[in-house]
Symmetry: C2
Amino acid sequence: MPQKPKILATQVVASSELFCIETVDLRFSNGEERRFERLAGGYNGAVLVVPLLNDDTVLLIKEYCVGMEDYEYYLPKGKVDAGEAMLAAANRELKEEVGYGARQLHELVAISQAPAYMRHRTHLVIARDLYEEKLQGDEPEPLEVLPLPLAELENWVMNGKITEARSIAALYLTRAWLDKQR
Amino acid sequence: MPQKPKILATQVVASSELFCIETVDLRFSNGEERRFERLAGGYNGAVLVVPLLNDDTVLLIKEYCVGMEDYEYYLPKGKVDAGEAMLAAANRELKEEVGYGARQLHELVAISQAPAYMRHRTHLVIARDLYEEKLQGDEPEPLEVLPLPLAELENWVMNGKITEARSIAALYLTRAWLDKQR
């Protein structure tokens, strides 16, 4: 394991309501110096919830994604609010986006996305023993909720029906976790 | 499927050397209007390469990620250059980051990351029949290359050794694809 590069300086170079971009000047252990850019913020982390209707079926939501300019199917997710417990955030997002709460919440593992550009960590949370409860979120239109039979996971991904990387990772990990429970 | 929202306006509100942030004003089919922000660019797409040393072993790289301020293990990847064929980009990244070329390249599927915030599509490419060839990349220090036995995938993810969402998704999809070939 090489020694970590030394951070010589960081500087905010651009920002908007949602994003903050900073430069980071690094000196690597071999003496090389480089300037990188990254997105600051997101340090409270995020949750991605796997709502198990039963041991063979997961609930997905369908939401309009302005990045892709299309509707996408994925798992409910959101940021952990300041001061909010991580599992509480998972249950809140589940109630807001899917219309269920969970009596059992289990953190599987935390994963990263674009680790070269963000500090963002996403906690994958399995939600079981569901009950109906709807909380009002800030969605501009109602989200469609769709059951995915876990046996169909490969097909849905290979056919392009599910594309989002964190959801795909979470669904495979959930399947492996369930296999171990049986 | 609801009708897609109408894009009323887009405007660049901040930019740096690497990032460009734009606002998008949307009117949803129910009449709700909202302003969102997204990262513009990345429209050529990216490649994420799964280098198979053999049918049981994948090669990972270890690289310093300034977002996480730590070294991370993941699959070789990079942007497709303007005018470059997607599979050629995959082979170039493989040569630059791992020191191998591949005689067989197969696109598995394309996935998204943060589809609400980026248009970014990542083509997952399985690379087989490898041969040694090193191309000079722009890395500040040599990358460590590490073989991952595919049978160990779950353990490495659950122990936090592999965290990057796209790599986890690609490795599970590769394992499923290999199972089908057998």
